[in-house]
Symmetry: C2
Subunit: 211 residues, 2 copies
DNA sequence: TGTACCATACAGACAGGTCTGTAGCGCCGT
DNA sequence: ACGGCGCTACAGACCTGTCTGTATGGTACA
């Protein structure tokens, strides 16, 4: 999405570059987004001010507001980036199991289970932001909703290939379960959520197959 | 979830005020807590300032700070009240099914499913606060953790009476699932979370029994 | 080669508002 | 008279977003 710093000279004549002086415009934007993402995730979005972001990123506040119109836009960009990263990991697993949907699902659960068991894991960013911002029209909330719908959509695809009776129901069950693992990991003993997630999912898959 | 406006404490009707409080004091405290609870839950804790609370409650800010040392204490009191209300509802169900643990569990899931399907449902307050406050030593986080442990403890008690092989595992599975329903309800189609929760729980219980 | 131009970068002050928490004053009921 | 109440003002910090000013390095044209 941040895209090529390449040229697209539009209305203005003869000016064929938007590269900026040192060509580090995209670099600055990236540094801001990375810094903000880490801070937002670790401390909570509302608890982190833009002053802190610019300090930690080592950029000027004007730079932040050139790349992101408002803080809300920055929050949305944070969730979009998390969304991308999540599906990148997902797709990597998918491509390892092109023919065996059961193995693919197991692998996804392994990967998610490992993720939620990490020491500094602080929950799913999409769900955390949803908890912080009640307004469903907030730009970041839209990203979060789309993310969760996409999760269910992909789970349904796998369930269909598993040839269970009601793939959409199994997808819904697994969605509940995965979201539950996301939020519960901080409340359980460390390292417990992952195995529990896998065991529960297995039970649900077995049940869905028999039915 | 909270916010029944006419509730009116019912403690200290007016007689024994030898502790210096004059009946009005408990009433003021109650009004503050009720108002804060509704606002915290509906808009998020960090988004609600004490000025708004005192305005809506129709009390003086000094009264708020007389009854609650800091805003953090007020937040913790909010979660404690939610915790009490939740277990009151739970216990009411429990007492209707003293002899049949399967029916009791079903009834709990019905009740929770109904709750998460309500129009203004905005997730579990304990989980929402946990998402807003990263610091696990925050007084409100302690309340939230205790609440979730208590949930698992009670589920384990039911699972034991169900005579499944591994009651603790079933309790963990149901905890994941219930927390998942809490957070997912806003992301699913309205009214979908409740039935999905029940169906999933049934599958897990059946699987646990066979094992 | 030189120079004007342009976009971006950084630095820092500022505006206007909100936040939590405290203090002084007068009112009222016991 | 005393203690809780409401009201108002305040302190000091923090918030988002804007503004001014300066430095830097590419591109275009002479």
């Amino acid at each position: 999405m941040p895209a090529s710093p390449g040229s697209h000279s539009a209305g203005t004549p003869r000016n064929t570059n938007l590269d900026g002086a040192q060509g580090n415009s995209a670099e600055v934007r990236e540094r801001i987004l990375q810094t903000a993402s880490a801070l937002f995730y670790q401390r909570g979005v509302r608890a982190v001010g833009v002053d802190l972001v610019v300090d930690e990123a080592g950029v000027a506040k004007t730079s932040l507001y050139r790349h992101f119109r408002t803080k809300d836009d920055l929050i949305a960009a944070f969730l979009e980036r998390e969304d991308q990263d999540f599906w990148n990991g997902w797709t990597r697993v998918t491509e390892l199991h092109k023919t065996d949907p059961a193995a693919e699902l197991e692998a996804h659960l392994d990967w998610i289970g490992e993720r939620v068991g990490r020491p500094n894991y602080r929950g799913c960013p999409q769900l955390n932001v949803a908890a912080e911002f009640p307004d469903v029209d907030h730009p970041a909330r839209r990203v979060a909703s789309a993310h969760k719908q996409e999760l269910r959509r992909r789970l349904k695809g796998i369930a269909e290939r598993l040839r269970v009776k009601r793939p959409d129901e199994l997808a819904g069950q697994l969605s509940l379960l995965i979201n539950g693992a996301f939020v519960s990991s901080q409340m359980l003993s460390p390292g417990e959520a992952g195995p529990l997630l896998r065991a529960t999912a297995r039970a649900l898959i077995t049940a869905a197959r028999k039915q």
